[in-house]
Assembly symmetry: C2
Homo-oligomer: 404 residues x 2
């Protein structure tokens, strides 16, 4: 008789965003006349930029002709895309990353969930609290997190690094040494970040204790301050301790297009084993490449036209972020983030829990946000709003919230 | 200090098709004047059908307008595609499968590698020998296969079911009861298949011993004989013991488009745990949907025009299969397959090993095939050719092989 993976049974509830989607869908069904504004799930709303649309049409046409048809893609991704990434995302910033250290994928969510596979069972992970749920959940499924304490909503074998108002949302080195450290900067969900100098301290710490940093840079395009690193590889020594995950979802609106990449430097070695080679093996065995059309769309984000159009798109969303931050601030809310990231993190008013505020906002203002406690125990009492709505909807949502 | 997944170190050599790609690329570099014909890796060569191209252009245009833009897809795949699958691939064949038992993915390779994750560590897998390498390799990475014997090229904790000339390439029930049985029918690499009645016996066997069958139906579109099942769910009782993987790579030429789906029936339960729910959780946590554009392309394969165009495309490849089979047969080779599958499986001439014949064919005829031993020990002395070339190239390759 076959046996299931018992670790799945340990997972409390369902994936956060699935739960929200179900709640919103039930509310919409019960209240068909209400116009819901969604500032919850972090999905973009602006259409793809013209340069990207043009590249995709051209790639579709290539697929229509045997002479230009593209079948299976190379394991690591097309050379044209990996070269563009190495050039624009790394060399242009003075980072020493070559094309064969870049692995193109169907998005950073898959990579952030799958990356733990190349590590052994007996590693202890450290995460910021609150945190993007995928890092922890994927480790739960792999059996690396110990037992779940429903009261504290924590796992016995996970090191939590609280990020709250009190420490300015800057994670502190944990008391016990972790093996794998997940850092998402600029941060989802808090919308805050740390300086390049603070990141350098994390790199030094990881190298000192022999930990590896999984660095999620999905929101890099939203950095507006000078002293914030756009890549962990801007830090000295990161090549021996860091893996970087990147996404096109937020800088180019690819949430429904699906493209990302992971950088595993060749200097990242564990007792002689090359993590670059291990990830290559994983990629070659369990994945079959991102679609040709999508990789051409990714390439178009680096053309002069593509870059200019995406800069405008990011500015559009950051205008929303500023509007939310200033608007809620003026209405008496305590707000964070929104300067280097498209997320606003606010203290729930009164003594409402995160889910109470979620229900309150959905029912009274018909606005969907994300309850902070869904990201971890230290997220309790906080709430996330995204800047990814349309400007009109963002202002309308603000107006509704102010009137409450 | 972090630890790596030591199971990766156990993997002998690299992924089969990566090895072939490297060998061919080295030969091409050393012999730039030679025109290589590739009948190896199983990649298609015909362009996408017009109905699919049209659907993709339309979907790209939708992504260019905020009013019709599509961001994150629903976890399980878009309703329009899942409904089309349930209707055309199941209900039309009398199979009782509903849309919420269908999980759309980025292709059957990913699914066939990932599906083992929802099972516990202490399951024993059974595979046909020869076999598509991903089934075994993904279980090696998960630590389920025991130790590797380099001499016999087998894993201590894998049950091999030899499929050779001697048993007509029909796997027999193993002596030891397996927990998870991988069946790919019509078969890659042998190009052979079994009757619906024989498949029913496997379903009965699995239900009797409490095993689950992972049924890879990637080549279903190539079935030409009446008594062969197009889905395992044509068999009585399959809903309590089978998971089916399907691909659009071969029936619609999506090798570079990336789309597939997996069916996990709600009746598939292990001590009360629903495998359907477990796979939904896995999908929701570690995957973020296939691209909207690609799902629309998938939908187009079910339109009347799409169906007619793909029928022609399959017929085109099967004409190649017949040409190879008849041509090599006439030249004195012993050949199998090619009737219900786009693969020809041949005995290597003389006493050549599979890799010897690979090198011989590459060097003397500049034709690339796949060595049978790359698929498992019982594949030694066999060789796979695919029907996925152009008709002209297929005839040219045949002519070169005949002249050897």
């Amino acid at each position: 008789m076959y046996k299931i993976n018992e670790n799945y049974q340990k997972l409390p509830g369902s994936y956060l965003f699935s739960t929200i989607a179900k709640k919103v869908s039930a509310f919409a069904e019960a209240n068909p006349q209400k116009e819901i504004i969604r500032l919850g799930i972090g999905d973009v709303t602006q259409p793809l930029a013209p340069a990207i649309i043009q590249a995709m049409h051209q790639a579709v046409d290539e697929m229509a002709d045997a002479a230009t048809f593209h079948g299976y893609a190379p394991d690591l991704g097309y050379e044209f895309l990996r070269t563009a990434i190495a050039e624009h995302d790394y060399k242009a910033r003075g980072c020493d990353i070559s094309a064969d250290e870049i692995f193109v994928s169907d998005g950073a969510k898959s990579d952030s969930a799958n990356i733990q596979e190349i590590f052994g069972q007996d590693n202890r992970i450290a995460v910021c609290d609150p945190v993007y749920p995928v890092y922890v959940d994927s480790n739960v499924m792999a059996g690396r997190t110990g037992t779940y304490n429903a009261e504290t909503e924590t796992w016995s074998n996970v090191i939590y690094m609280p990020c709250t108002m009190e420490n300015g949302f800057v994670p502190e080195f944990p008391k016990e040494a972790p093996d794998i450290i997940y850092l998402c900067l600029p941060n989802n969900p808090t919308g805050t970040t740390i300086t390049k100098q603070q990141l350098q301290e994390w790199v030094d710490y990881a190298n000192k204790i022999g930990a590896v940093i999984i660095y999620d840079g999905a929101y890099e395009a939203y950095i507006s301050e000078e002293n914030v690193a756009h890549s962990i590889f801007e830090c000295q020594g990161a090549r021996t301790c860091a893996i970087e995950l990147k996404s096109y979802s937020k800088n180019a609106g690819f949430t429904g297009v699906r493209l990302g990449y992971t950088v595993v430097p060749k200097d990242l070695k564990c007792q002689g084993a090359s993590l670059n080679q291990m990830w290559a093996r994983r990629h070659g065995t369990k994945f079959n490449g991102a679609p040709y059309i999508v990789q051409r769309a990714g390439e178009a984000t680096y053309s002069p036209e593509g870059k200019a159009q995406l800069k405008e798109q990011v500015a559009y969303y950051m205008k929303n972020a500023a509007a939310i931050k200033n608007g809620l601030g003026a209405a008496g809310y305590t707000v964070f983030g929104g300067v280097n990231a498209p997320y606003i993190w606010l203290k729930t008013p009164g003594n409402m829990t995160s889910w109470e505020f979620f229900d309150y906002l959905l029912e009274q203002a018909n606005v969907v946000g994300t309850p902070g406690s869904g990201f971890g125990p230290s997220g309790e009492g906080y709430f996330r709003l995204t800047a990814f709505g349309s400007y009109e909807n963002t202002l309308a949502a603000l107006e509704r919230i102010r009137k409450l």
